[in-house]
């Protein structure tokens, strides 16, 4: 019963996320953030509900979410009526592809590093903490600048 209600909740959240993505395509980027948020939260919620081992498909889900966001933004950008150089489309395609692959690699690295036993010493602990601080700081720096 509990599993059934959780499944319905996750399905409803996923449906709402899809609707928000359609709304983003129709009305603009402000809806895109909400759609990505809901998709990510649905995925994390499903993991928390299922429990168990590490999901090996997590890097694919992460890269897929990022590529979905970038393609949606590109679709919205192309609606402006201007005559563009033919090379711009190919360069943006390449950029999204590179970003997607790099994101996939980064997510895979994260999942791979999580397989390292925690008792490998203080160095790993410090490295993990430093990585968290750097990541948070980069996020703050990026949003500010």
């Amino acid at each position: 019963m509990r599993a059934g209600s959780e499944a319905w909740a996750l399905a409803a959240a996923a449906g709402l996320g899809a609707l928000l993505l359609v709304a983003a395509l129709a009305r603009g980027e402000p809806f895109l953030g909400a759609a990505l948020w809901l998709a990510g939260a649905t995925y994390v919620g499903s993991l928390a509900a299922a429990g168990g081992r590490v999901d090996a498909a997590a890097p694919l889900a992460a890269a897929g979410l990022l590529i979905c966001g970038e393609l949606t933004a590109w679709s919205l950008d192309e609606r402006s009526r201007l005559r563009a150089d033919p090379t711009l489309s190919s360069r943006r395609t390449a950029g999204i592809a590179v970003l997607g692959l790099a994101g996939l690699a980064a997510a895979t690295l994260v999942v791979g590093l999580s397989a390292v036993p925690p008792s490998h010493g203080i160095a790993w602990t410090v490295a993990g903490a430093a990585a968290s601080v750097i990541a948070a700081g980069a996020g703050v720096w990026a949003t500010r600048g």
Partner: protein, 420 residues
């Protein structure tokens, strides 16, 4: 330039932070893996620096005629590479560009680039082209820098003119030499009369045949060629505008045509813009006067006003005596009609060219409104009758008809009716 982030950058940042926090809170690695690509995208968004691009704007020419095409050249000199450089030329609706006024291009470091846009001059007027709105973006569109660049260029589009083979000759001429045959007697080409010789007459004017017949000296008199003063009176109190067409547009084109034609005959031409904004040019001749009048016509837009205005506010030299006054008006405002009747009462040679607004105002099929339309047309007929009663010819210039047609109509009227 002002730096701008794409709205999704904030969403990526919050996703990355939320993923890290969720990973810590749930003790799972998947949320952190979900956050990693978005953190990478944030680094990609933070990496680009503001580009420096030199921009120069120039027009192939600063004067054109309606229907002409003028090339706008944008020269770009980038210091560094710009993945996507967008530029937009803000244009008034009177200037059109095929493919739109916006372009997007890629700039390579140190490589100048030139963009040409062909502007089509749809309507007359004086326009400012530029400065451009520019935006430089990275390859993914995560960051952008926006601003203005280039100096504004002024483009004057003159009204198109029609060809007129004949003009309305004024009743009186002036004292300077010109192309109009005067009613006075003197030295010229056109034969006027014969008279007896008087002391002071030149020998070459003696008509020997008449002298032989009559036994005393008789001389030939001719009509001299003199110039005339013409004042174009443009009514800018009101207009009718529909579907991009306007009575004021046609009136300005007619004024430009008549001014050019009379100046070519070495007449002196002046201009009075009578409306919410009063403007005038004293009659002069020559090419400089043509440019002065046409430049004034470019600013002849209708300005709505409730001020009561008469011709007495105009300087006396604007309306010389014996001048031919050509009034171009849609006859919509009573103030213009009163001013013109005042001019007639002062003895001016007046002709009214009515720029008909009827083609722009289709009557509504509903009965009460069509009755109002008929009453309005009757009132216009009554106004025309008032002019004709005082000997002022009123000719209607309809859309699609050449301007030469009402000019011929005026000449025909003058052959039948000799004004006082």
């Amino acid at each position: 330039m002002t730096g701008v982030r794409a709205p999704r950058v904030a969403a990526y940042a919050s996703l990355a932070a939320a993923g890290l926090i969720a990973g810590l809170a749930l003790g799972r690695v998947e949320p952190v893996a979900l956050a990693a690509p978005f953190a990478l995208a944030l680094v990609a968004a933070a990496a680009p620096r503001e580009p420096r691009v030199g921009l120069r704007l120039s027009l192939a020419r600063d004067r054109a005629v309606e229907g002409d095409e003028v090339v706008l050249t944008v020269e770009l000199e980038p210091d560094g590479a710009v993945q996507r450089y967008e530029l937009l030329v803000p244009l008034p609706e009177e200037l059109a560009v095929d493919g739109g006024p916006a372009r997007a291009l890629r700039l390579r470091a140190g490589e100048p680039r030139t963009v040409e846009l062909t502007l089509r001059c749809v309507r007359w007027g004086a326009f400012r082209v530029g400065p451009l709105l520019v935006r430089a973006r990275d390859a993914l569109g995560l960051r952008a820098w926006e601003g203005e660049a280039g100096d504004a260029q002024v483009l004057r589009v003159y009204p198109s003119e029609e060809t007129l083979r004949t003009l309305v000759p004024p009743l009186e001429t002036q004292v300077f030499a010109g192309n109009q045959v005067s009613r006075a007697r003197g030295e010229g080409i056109e034969f006027a009369d014969l008279r007896e010789w008087r002391p002071g007459d030149r020998v070459r004017r003696v008509n020997w045949r008449a002298t032989a017949r009559r036994g005393s000296l008789w001389v030939t008199e001719q009509h001299p060629e003199r110039n005339t003063d013409v004042v174009v009176f443009l009514d800018t109190f009101a207009e009718v505008r529909a579907d991009g067409r306007s009575t004021n547009d046609r009136a300005v084109r007619a004024a430009a045509t008549l001014v050019h034609a009379y100046l070519e005959r070495r007449d002196r031409v002046g201009l009075v813009g009578f409306g919410g904004y009063l403007s005038w040019l004293v009659p002069e001749s020559g090419l400089r006067q043509l440019y002065a009048i046409v430049d004034t016509l470019l600013t002849s837009d209708v300005v709505h006003s409730y001020v009561l205005r008469g011709v007495d506010v105009l300087p006396p030299r604007t309306l010389p005596s014996k001048a031919l006054v050509l009034a171009i008006t849609p006859l919509l405002d009573e103030r213009t009609a009163s001013a013109l009747l005042d001019l007639r009462a002062r003895g001016y040679d007046l002709i009214v060219v009515e720029v008909s607004p009827l083609e722009l105002l289709a009557p509504d099929p509903a009965a009460p409104v069509s009755l109002a339309h008929r009453l309005w047309r009757l009132s216009r007929e009554a106004l025309r009758w008032r002019f004709e009663q005082v000997g002022v010819p009123v000719v209607t210039w309809r859309e699609g008809i050449p301007l030469a047609a009402p000019v011929e109509e005026v000449n025909a009227f003058r052959h039948l009716v000799r004004p006082a």
